[in-house]
């Protein structure tokens, strides 16, 4: 069962595997933050409800250029410190206020993030959300993101630092939906209610089923999955024939 916990609240008296946002004191496990925990889980962890963005390696983030000097650009990532992109990494020049998407390649012990693969974003607009709630915008295997793209017809990039960049499509609707998800991020059954929301706006969307969701890059390619599916269909046909 899910439970709301506050900082310092007891999560478990037993020994458990430790997840995020918990600490151990006198052999007992306590929560570090205001968040939600799964009581019967094997792993003791808390999903935070509020908080700033902690830079983490491999995160895709959306930054705003705050400083342009001879050697490169200072970029605000909504984090504690400013990051830097050298001019040699960019094809084109940027101005203060430009948007840039990048991947975090390294985070040092002072939580300063190094950026790689920078891409300047042309046009579009940014919707800000609470950074710890971005996983709900993406959903399981990207189901919510797929829904948003279907419903609004926008090109969307979700930065883990709480910035959603979007272009084309119905931006006004997207803003509404993203705010709705941000406000209700701690509630369950969110994907279905977003589907209902789109329906009430007169837009038909379908929640992508498990096998419809595109696989991650490190998973086997689609062809393999299809070949696994095909025999069963054939068998069905055979049964009908009989």
């Amino acid at each position: 069962m899910k439970k709301l916990v506050i900082p310092g609240e007891l999560i478990s008296q037993e020994r458990k595997r430790l997840g995020g946002n918990v600490f151990v004191s006198n052999g007992k496990i306590y929560s570090k933050v205001l968040g939600v925990t799964e009581e019967n889980d094997e792993k003791a962890s808390v999903v935070p409800l509020e908080g700033k963005y902690f830079p983490q390696q491999e995160d895709v983030v959306i930054g705003v250029v705050t400083r342009a000097i001879f050697a490169g650009y200072g970029v605000n990532l909504n984090s504690f410190t400013e990051s830097f992109i050298p001019k040699s990494a960019m094809r084109e020049d940027m101005k203060v206020g430009d948007l840039v998407s990048a991947k975090i390649t390294y985070v040092n012990e002072l939580r300063e993030a190094e950026l790689g693969f920078p891409r300047r974003m042309f046009g579009g607009e940014v919707i800000e959300v609470i950074p710890v709630r971005t996983p709900r915008l993406i959903g399981k295997n990207g189901s919510m993101l797929e829904l948003l793209k279907q419903g609004t017809g926008c090109d969307i990039i979700i930065g883990k630092n709480g910035r959603v960049w979007a272009r084309n499509g119905n931006l006004e609707l997207l803003r509404k939906v993203v705010t709705f998800i941000n406000d209700n991020a701690y509630k369950s059954n969110l994907t279905n209610s977003v589907e209902a929301f789109f329906k009430s706006e007169g837009i038909q969307v379908s929640v992508p089923k498990k096998d419809e969701i595109r696989p991650k890059f490190d998973q086997p390619s689609e062809n393999v999955e299809e070949s696994e599916v095909l025999p069963s269909e054939e068998s069905e046909v055979l049964n009908e024939g009989n």
């Binding site: 899910k2 439970k3 709301l4 506050i6 900082p7 310092g8 609240e9 007891l10 946002n21 600490f23 004191s25 306590y30 570090k32 933050v33 205001l34 939600v36 935070p48 409800l49 509020e50 908080g51 700033k52 504690f80 410190t81 400013e82 012990e109 002072l110 939580r111 710890v132 509404k176 709705f180 209700n184 701690y186 509630k187 369950s188 059954n189 969110l190 209610s193 209902a196 929301f197 009430s200 706006e201 007169g202 837009i203 038909q204 046909v237 009908e240």
Partner: protein, 289 residues
């Protein structure tokens, strides 16, 4: 500041009741609300008797000027201020010796609760503003500030709960009001703890006490802080309800905009396309068969 001894001064030992009708270990009515200031990262509003306090938290953010940065921990920087209209006589808005001292002790108390080593080179700004006051404003500020810190999502060991304890009119009491603070024999102790571990993080004393009296008072203070902790916990939990998203909420957001002609058209066109799709699918199935 002790008042003058007068003939009709109350005697708590005889009366068994305090000047405002409370029992000796009773608190004044307390209410906390979390998340009241939209521009702050975390915030809280607290009413405790006549005390009214706002607390706002910003950060963790880069500590400036740069020489204040500490590569081993974050600075919890508290700014305690009283509004000019918060006391009967106008308060000079310039921060005075008392404001600076309270800012310092509150910062040190909160630092014990926060995991400061997680945010090197940064600063957490806590700004507490007293809008109305009647004795015990620093403990009210501490309670509000710890709720605001939790609301900002800052990792903490525990909340900080605090209350005033002490002695007035010959009896040991909890949560002194202004009349009791001004009693001739008054002893005022702001008393703050981390409720789960019982660790004391704020302890000051104005007046003199016997050792036995202090031992009794510490027990009273602990009990009162546990009560306050429950209220803080409830205030934080009330902000979020772990339910499914209600249909009415979806409707409320949707009804913000009326169904436009475009939406209707889109509906119709989608219907058509769906019909087409269905027919196509059935065709393809037939082909497969």
């Amino acid at each position: 500041m002790s008042g003058r001894v007068t003939e009709n001064m109350p005697d708590y030992k005889k009366d068994k009741k305090r000047v405002d009708g409370r029992k000796m270990e009773d608190l004044r009515p307390l209410s906390i609300k979390v998340g009241v200031l939209p521009n702050a990262d975390g915030s809280a509003y607290l009413e405790w008797g006549q005390n009214k306090v706002y607390a706002a938290v910003y950060g963790p953010r880069e500590a400036l000027p740069k020489h204040t940065q500490n590569p081993y921990k974050t600075n919890v920087k508290v700014t305690y201020r009283m509004a000019t209209f918060s006391v009967p006589e106008r308060k000079q808005p310039r921060p005075n010796r008392r404001d600076m001292e309270i800012s310092k002790v509150l910062g040190e108390a909160l630092e014990k609760a926060v995991f400061v080593e997680q945010f090197p080179n940064t600063e957490i700004s806590v700004i507490v503003e007293v809008v109305d006051s009647n004795a015990g404003s620093r403990v009210a500020c501490l309670c509000a500030a710890s709720c605001a810190l939790a609301d900002a999502g800052i990792p903490m060991r525990d909340l900080v709960s605090a209350t005033g304890v002490g002695k007035a009119f010959g009896e040991l009491i909890v949560d002194l009001n202004k009349d009791e603070e001004d009693a001739p024999d008054a002893v005022d102790i702001p008393f703050g703890i981390l409720p789960n571990s019982g660790e004391i993080v704020l302890l000051q004393m104005d007046g003199l006490l016997k050792k036995e009296e202090w031992e009794k008072i510490a027990v009273l203070g602990n009990k009162a802080c546990q009560q306050i902790y429950q209220m803080q916990k409830k205030a934080l939990q009330d902000k979020f309800q772990l339910t499914e998203v209600s249909e009415s909420a979806v409707e409320a957001v949707a009804s913000g905009k009326e169904e436009t002609k475009e939406a209707k058209q889109r509906k119709e066109s989608k219907k058509d396309s769906k019909d087409n799709k269905d027919s196509k699918e059935s065709k393809s199935k037939k082909v497969k068969k």
